[in-house]
Point group: C2
Chain length 278, copies 2
Amino acid sequence: MGWIDEVFDGVRYGLEGTVVAEQDSAFQKVTIIDSQRYGKGLLLDGCWMTAERQERHYHEAIVHPALCSAERIERVLVIGGGDGGTARECLRHAGVQHLDLVEIDGLVVEWSQQYLPSIGGGCWSDPRFHLTVGDGIAWAANAPEASYDVVIVDGSDPAGPAEGLFNRAFFEHCRRILRPGGVFATQSESPEAFRQVHIDTVKLIREVFGHADPLYGWVPMYPSGWWSWTFAATDGRRYLQPDPARAAAVDCGCEIWSPRWQRGAFDAVPAAIERELG
Amino acid sequence: MGWIDEVFDGVRYGLEGTVVAEQDSAFQKVTIIDSQRYGKGLLLDGCWMTAERQERHYHEAIVHPALCSAERIERVLVIGGGDGGTARECLRHAGVQHLDLVEIDGLVVEWSQQYLPSIGGGCWSDPRFHLTVGDGIAWAANAPEASYDVVIVDGSDPAGPAEGLFNRAFFEHCRRILRPGGVFATQSESPEAFRQVHIDTVKLIREVFGHADPLYGWVPMYPSGWWSWTFAATDGRRYLQPDPARAAAVDCGCEIWSPRWQRGAFDAVPAAIERELG
């Protein structure tokens, strides 16, 4: 047993455990660890991504505000999300008929299936689930107009393979490929550890969609522990109002998310960030 | 430069920096560090307490919901809080006429004044501020009935000198010494790292006051980063409604707190905790 740490800007967050597997893929260093506190976990280029007993904070927050509010939810696109957690939460909604998951790094998928099976749960064998190992940015650029009801961007920080997930051209394609009444969701970094990236991302999505709202929650293993996800839609702020029937069908299985929690998480904009967002 | 870590339950949170001063007081080991990321900081018995550039998350959250909602705010009692940050935020409210701060450990006060002067700010020389180095539990037990408008418990985890800040007898005295329309606030631990203590504390305060509401926020340096404070009042849930004039007088100086943030932070009860609290 030793410490596996992510170091960021003079701060480190470490879990006690052992490295189970580590390999350089074509894109990044992929590490699987086994920790005492949170079970098995995944790092990419030394940055914490997820762990078996700390993944719900992230996956419930990015999925249910979108899946409970889009006008239809038949066709869902997940870009990134190779651990399967986002797909798993989406597929808990019976209305989903087809989910495309486009993950750039096949090793992340392979090792998530092998070492972190509880995170993807039943998604890997769900007939509605369609995996493509490839470039999600190109996928969004090439997808037909109005071809998805929900687009979720579950990527890592804007460096390395995820850099192109934070620019105007990409967000414009995400908007273009949404059907009317469709909802867009992306992780939008920490308002504390990545404050400027967070603010710039929310502002850029507001420019592209005409509006957007950050939601604030926690992922203890991420820098500062304080995280955000940002939502937009083709026809206004519909993600603020979860459909009661869809919410009731999933919330009993949630650890974090509920309609009440979501309402609070959208309101809990820290004062200084609210002043900057205007 | 090296790492100064708090280790808790297989997780560590560390800041890169140097130890500036360290000494065993009569109650605990007191450490002052100088960190690259958050400036100077304080640990007690190896646990992170506060730091110059990470203290507002805590102090704004524990103070303003109470100070903006109590019927009167002339007389305030702070138990613990020897770094001065809670007193500083209270004294920003012009209506406060007398603030008693009762901190058990004189070395915490002395070193906070010497090494962390920005945290206490002007509190130490404010004529409304009255410091007692002594036992806050005994102070609450001995204070006359209905002698304070606000009681704030700014203590450390329920072990060592702070253990008695989490039991029924103490909470009953806090209630007894509040005037009608008075508000009680306490830190109530992490819903993640100290989940059972958090739940037990909220339930116990509910038994004593007939109601109580946890508010959820972030203190990156505390275990899991995810933290709570719990509020109660003599005459119902008045802390849910900040007085607009009092709020307007302080919110421009806040980094985190605003009436909107507070509304969200009270709503953002994680689903599994809400089910347990009933």
